[in-house]
Symmetry: C2
Subunit: 456 residues, 2 copies
């Protein structure tokens, strides 16, 4: 039994001590996925060294599990001959992932060195975009004819080459068109071995097109709770299948992407230990925020003469901004996640917006009352000459109410519009919504106070 | 073939028009998962009505796919006799989910009405916490003895009751202890039907304990790329299995939870159309923000006399706050997601913190230079009497640098500490980190300016 949950941190220590022999013998008993984690975490200059410590058996599995940075380090350190040998031992979809990351020249050199049959399969897979059904599928499918008998099918399975495990065998017509599937376990339970497969065949099935986006494929599998989905080309021919474990990575990736984008960063951060790469991911969004902040400073400068005469109005500016920004991001998050999990169609947009109007109004009322109450307490201790406390407090409360109501609707609207424009709604929602809502909140706040108060 | 991706919005329109006959005939051809989506989206008072339109065959599948609000509406409208009949037709794990949501009295009434065998199985499952391996597993496993032959095993499978599909059969010793597994497809490929299973049996396997957290089970399946994992009790006896499609829901749920919490809300929002429920999810976090904002107003009041004499210092307050808050949330997000995907052990915390110090310093330098440059431009147009422009600009730049460096480290530290305290790091990271960083940024900003400038 491979050691599971091994002590990765211990190995990282040994790397710093350069105890290569100890590392080699420790890794020998590990699961490839755990070895890959160690290499991912290791300092860049130790990654290829670690890979050379592995047995030839382990290399293909480990290489296919590495993250993109570690993968490119390791691949660069290998000769074409070494790489082609390793890649040949991989499942064709994993091999295509590795070869797809190479330069055009190197990938054709490596493919040349591979055995004809394997390289053909990889070449076919390389034609598909990485984030489509074709990019994540395995071409290993078991297909049968509907006029075969149960007995023949069971016999045929016994003579198959080894491949990934499967639960469904696909029934194809002449011309390899997919017409249905059979469940392996139904096949096994069929007591009449002479029965033709046509009688066991399910002709109601869900299939993905080879060019479908990987997220859509993930939706299909999770919506219809199926463990594997056949992939067909535009002519209805079966070209592969996507299993639910391929899709787990897709779901985790997409969730990471959304989370990082909402925070104003990029999930590339998960794959690197380098502060510079983190900065590259985060800085653009910080600069958006900074730009917004500097715009706010201009507005404040403009209103300074009016505001500074009433201390409480200036003191509440950060509170109003924070509330506007936060309310907006809550609304955006709901919409971004709803779109990610369920997609979004025509009518429900109106429902969603109506709801956000209601939510913004309720929350605005409650928070408005809170800030108004606080203002009254404040003004009792430090009254503002020339203004009734009640009036000032009401104005602040109304301003916060307006800012929050706007923010909720705007926060929901931005990802809806981005989605309509076929831009990933998560991309621009986080810092963009926050800073725009900050700006809007400020203008609403000043607008309300100036409209309702006899300021200088 | 069931109609897939049906026009859900059309049905929602028909609900508003109360065209029940049209709805009934439309839904008759739908997949249960899609019918469940319609009921989830329907107005609350139409949900039980819609359920009554379904055929008896469809009811169990649809009920098990409903979200928790719709489920409780529908279940409330059913008599105990109706409910027990529907639940009996479900997979035992789905049945246990429904019955587990009932009141104690009602659940025992419904269990009484069910057939002995089914109710026993459900009772056993109900003992496990909902978010553990026991709570998401199915008890349907195929187990065999290692001294059976390949031929006997294939025969035995043919006589099994119908259940969920499977790819592995488990080998158990006397006393039902799990000792290994066989792959169904390896079984089928074995040409020697007389071979004992012990020779095909894999004794290296990954198993989950029945009390393991569902997230940990999801990690195991995704880390080791396996499609189903056996679940054992404390004595090593096999009690069920968790398949990768059960785990997809867990991964989606956990990602949603993290996303909503970072935004200051709760993923309950995905399950409801009610603005009031949304407000209940969002308000606590907004009130945290509001409280922080009001604290900020107190600090501003305190510094008002000093600040208001230098317009530019006051005008930059929102920019500094926004940068502090955003930098903190970026750092928190990285840590929260790293913990969610990989867990976190001893040594890597130091690495992570060192990295955040570097990231904060780099970003602080760049953004500090930007705001300093902007300040110089600003001061050329509107110089502040009594201060050299260069000095003011440097002070603002240094203050932003300090605030961002602090925010990056603090933002990373909060989820690490929460994780150590065994609190979900996502819970308090979002608005809590933002508002604390806002406060800290303000104090750092004032501290720096007062230390470096001869303010009144």
């Amino acid at each position: 039994m491979p050691k599971l949950h091994p002590n990765i941190e211990r190995i990282v220590e040994l790397i710093h001590l350069e105890e290569w022999d100890q590392i080699r013998s420790a890794l020998a008993s590990w699961h490839p996925a755990d070895i890959a984690d160690v290499i991912d975490l290791a300092p860049r200059d130790a990654q290829d060294r670690l890979f050379t410590l592995l047995s030839d058996d382990a290399k293909p599995d480990v290489l296919s599990e590495l993250d993109s940075y570690a993968e490119s380090e390791v691949v660069e350190s290998l000769t074409n001959a070494e790489l082609s040998e390793i890649v040949e031992e991989m499942d064709p979809d994993d091999a295509a992932d590795i070869i797809g990351d190479l330069s055009d020249q190197r990938s054709s050199e490596v493919l040349e060195l591979m055995q004809e049959e394997e390289s053909e399969e990889v070449r076919r897979l390389l034609k598909y975009e990485e984030d489509t059904a074709g990019g994540i599928m395995t071409p290993d499918v078991v297909s049968m004819r509907s006029d075969q008998t149960v007995g023949e099918a069971i016999e045929a399975i016994a003579y198959l080459d080894e491949g990934e495990p499967f639960v469904y065998a696909y029934i194809v017509s002449e011309g390899e068109r997919l017409t249905g599937y059979i469940d392996i376990w139904e096949l096994l339970r069929e007591k009449n071995r002479q029965r033709p497969l046509s009688e066991l065949c399910h002709t109601e099935f869900v299939a993905a097109n080879v060019n479908d986006d990987q997220e859509d494929v993930a939706h299909l599998l999770s919506q219809y709770d199926i463990s594997s989905i056949p992939v067909i080309d535009d002519d209805g021919r079966i070209v592969g299948r996507v299993t639910v474990d391929d899709v787990i990575d897709v779901i985790e990736e997409e969730a990471s992407e959304d989370i990082f984008r909402l925070a104003g960063s990029d999930d590339i951060e998960l794959e690197t230990d380098s502060p510079v790469r983190s900065c590259i991911a985060r800085l653009p969004w910080l600069l958006v925020t900074l730009f917004g902040g500097l715009m706010i400073s201009l507005i404040l400068k403009q209103f300074h003469a009016r505001i500074s005469s009433v201390i409480i109005l200036g003191a509440f500016v950060p509170a109003v901004l924070a509330m506007g920004g936060n309310t907006g991001i809550q609304a955006s998050t709901l919409v971004v996640r709803t779109i990610a999990l369920r997609g979004m169609e025509g009518k429900s947009i109106t429902r969603l917006l109506l709801r956000e109007i209601a939510v913004g109004a309720i929350m605005g009322t409650i928070c408005g009352l809170c800030i108004g109450g606080w203002a009254l307490v404040w003004l009792r201790g430090a009254p503002e000459p020339g203004f009734s406390s009640m009036r000032l407090a009401s104005v602040v409360a109304i301003a916060l109410f307006c800012a929050m109501s706007f923010a909720a609707v705007f926060g929901a609207l931005v990802p809806i519009v981005l989605n309509k424009l076929r831009v990933d709604p998560a991309v621009a929602s986080g810092p963009f919504v926050t800073i725009t809502n900050d700006l809007a909140a400020l203008l609403i706040y000043f607008g309300t106070t100036i409209a309702l108060l006899p300021l200088a």
